[in-house]
């Protein structure tokens, strides 16, 4: 590659980076600018909309509920999907396409159709079991299936599930141990990805909650926007930043794991000194 060509490529990269960054940051910046405006034209900048977030009782409750929903959905998704996918890979490979189809199906069905189908079930549960917002996690697990399936499938494809599980079984491990002590630790990045996608999706979900008459974060932001646009925008920016921080954490966790190898590879026979891992 000639120097001129390398330079052109470098310039192109910078332009793409700047344009991409502007695409994401300008709207967020504009939202932040709007959320710090004073009450009337010419009024000084204020953080009142931001401080209202923590004092607004319904909003705090909605944030708490949405975080709870995100946690329940992520756990339920992992508990449901991971063993199923491992089992299908090991014992029922002919069902792989069927499972994949079922998991990707929610992508093709509009949320409104899902809600119409689910609303009688939710009505029945609300009357006969318990009426709580956390019932939404059932629907959210379905909603996150396509994204979680893709993330987990990539993780499972990266390891030799069959050999690892057979090796563990021959050493006396039961299926639970195989899944959670042998397979899961070797696809932790995929699991983190699947969980992050689930959290991001649940925190941004509006249609299900609104049509099923539950107050989650997005519904609360919407209603707040009708009464107090500044606070509504502040909460939106905050939830975007929260998702961004989650992404950064995930990326650092991934890098930290990847760095273990080269650092350890440089050590001269660590076991000779007695073995720190024992």
């Amino acid at each position: 590659m000639t120097r001129a060509r390398r330079l052109r490529l470098q310039v192109f990269r910078v332009i793409v980076l700047v344009l991409g960054g502007a695409f994401f940051l300008v709207p967020i910046g504009a939202m932040f600018e709007f959320s710090t405006r004073g009450n009337h034209s010419g009024a000084p900048r204020t953080l009142q909309a931001w401080t209202t977030i923590v004092t607004y009782p319904d909003l705090v409750g909605a944030i708490r509920d949405s975080l709870g929903l995100a946690a329940i959905t992520s756990v339920a998704m992992v508990v449901l999907l991971l063993p199923t996918m491992i089992w299908v890979r090991l014992r029922l490979p002919r069902l792989k396409r069927t499972i994949e189809f079922l998991c990707l199906l929610p992508l093709t069905i509009p949320a409104i159709v899902l809600v119409v189908g689910l609303s009688p079930v939710y009505r029945w549960m609300a009357i006969n079991l318990v009426d709580t917002i956390f019932l939404l996690s059932f629907a959210y697990v379905i909603l996150v299936l396509p994204f979680a399936y893709r993330a987990l499938d990539a993780g499972l494809s990266a390891i030799d599930v069959k050999t690892l599980s057979e090796a563990a079984r021959s050493l006396g491990a039961g299926w639970g141990t195989v899944m959670f002590r042998v397979i899961a630790p070797n696809m932790s990045s995929a699991l983190l990805n699947a969980c992050l996608l689930s959290v991001a999706l649940v925190l941004g979900e509006f249609t299900f909650a609104n049509l099923l008459s539950y107050l989650n974060l997005q519904v609360e932001i919407f209603q707040l926007g009708l009464a107090n646009a500044g606070t509504s925008i502040a909460v939106s920016v905050a939830s975007l930043m929260f998702a961004f921080i989650l992404l950064v954490i995930l990326s650092f966790v991934g890098r930290a794991r990847a760095r273990v190898a080269p650092e350890r590879a440089g050590l001269p026979f660590p076991g000779a000194a007695g073995g720190g891992q024992r």
């Binding site: 057979e166 079984r169 021959s170 026979f269």
Partner: protein, 369 residues
């Protein structure tokens, strides 16, 4: 390494080997018979190699012993106990796989200790035994390395240590050397045999590499179409193959058209004794090993066993010479010193050693004869 092994030997002396019996095992996959009534009895501490081409059922047999698959019928008896219906994790078998199977998120030491942990062995005993096992395979200095920091050969040695650490009743080796390069393979093969003898564990070794099977096993079972065609010591398998399939699968064989007559087979004027002397008279193909063929100067004479050397392959101490007899080519294996005196183009006369030969009577032989 010898020192390490000697030191580890006391600590690693496990239970004496047990008898393992496979009784009339049958297994079919979607209409295809993988095992067709396989029976095999392994003496305590014996190493039996199952040898055969791809699809002959050898890996299926091993997986049935491991419990990774269930037989359609038949029994697996280990140490007098029928384990046919038991799941893998209750069977007390140690297994080394063809693919690298170390748990990537664990160190070598943690891998070896995993099975002990599953058996609820106490921490101090676990540490002691896992250390002993790594000593046994000469990898005590690599205890804290992860799989990706070990070479292929080292990974398989750790896998062997891991399989032996749980003191299983039977050790199953599923082509553990096939992913390694030739030099490492030969070294690790000897290493596996040494460790197996040291521990005294009954071992089933599956391979498609005849050299490997003949070098490592007490007995070799040559498999074909889900059955054992011949089971015996390596020397017998090689020098006294019971069937044409065994003769052709194990080692190189010349197929020489001839005629059976009066308990002997006549091949191009040379009369050879037969392994099956009661075979009916008629056309047949004699299966002759290259080392049973020697070359003599032909002079100017012509004859049915006179031909021209067309190629010589250098194999080290010996060389394999290809002689064209006009209608067929014959391989002869000679000491390299002799072969180098016979360059390509030399006219030679073949001399067939009068060892008993097997005859085949398949479609090919009939048409050739």
């Amino acid at each position: 390494m010898t020192t390490a092994v000697a030191a580890a030997g006391v600590g690693t002396a496990t239970r004496a080997g047990v008898e393992v019996r496979l009784e009339n095992l049958q297994r079919r996959y979607a209409g295809v018979t993988a095992l067709d009534g396989l029976s095999l009895t392994m003496a305590p501490g014996e190493l039996v190699a199952l040898l055969g081409p791809s699809g002959c059922g050898k890996t299926t047999a091993l997986r049935l012993v491991a419990g990774l698959e269930q037989a359609d019928s038949g029994r697996v008896v280990v140490g007098g106990e029928d384990v046919t219906g038991q799941p893998t994790n209750k069977r007390d078998v140690g297994m080394v796989f063809q693919a690298y199977s170390l748990f990537p998120h664990m160190t070598a030491w943690q891998n070896v200790a995993f099975g002990l942990q599953m058996r609820k062995v106490g921490a101090s005993q676990r540490r002691q035994r896992a250390g002993d096992m790594l000593d046994l395979v000469g990898l005590s200095g690599f205890a804290d390395r992860f799989a990706h920091q070990l070479s292929g050969g080292q990974q398989q040695r750790v896998a062997l240590a891991r399989a032996l650490a749980i003191q299983p009743k039977v050790l199953l080796l599923d082509e553990p050397l096939s992913a390694l390069d030739a030099k490492v393979r030969a070294r690790l093969r000897d290493e596996i045999r040494r460790v197996q003898l040291e521990v005294g564990i009954t071992t089933l070794f599956v391979t498609h590499d005849q050299e490997e099977a003949l070098a490592i096993a007490d007995r070799v079972g040559v498999m074909h179409s889900g059955r054992i065609e011949q089971l015996g010591p390596p020397t017998t398998i090689y020098s006294r193959p019971a069937t044409p399939f065994v003769a052709e699968f194990v080692g190189l064989t010349n197929r020489l058209p001839g005629v059976v007559h009066g308990g002997e087979v006549e091949v191009r004027g040379a009369r050879l004794p037969m392994v099956q002397p009661d075979a009916a008279d008629g056309p047949a193909v004699a299966l002759v090993r290259p080392e049973a063929v020697t070359l003599a100067s032909s002079g100017e004479a012509a004859g049915p066993l006179v031909g021209t050397i067309i190629a010589t392959a250098f194999l080290g101490a010996t060389s394999r010479v290809t002689v064209d007899l006009g209608d067929i080519t014959v391989l002869a294996q000679l000491p390299t010193a002799e072969a180098s005196a016979l360059p390509a183009g030399t006219r030679v006369r073949l001399v067939l050693r009068p060892d008993p030969v097997l005859i085949a009577r398949d479609e090919t032989s009939a048409s050739r004869a």
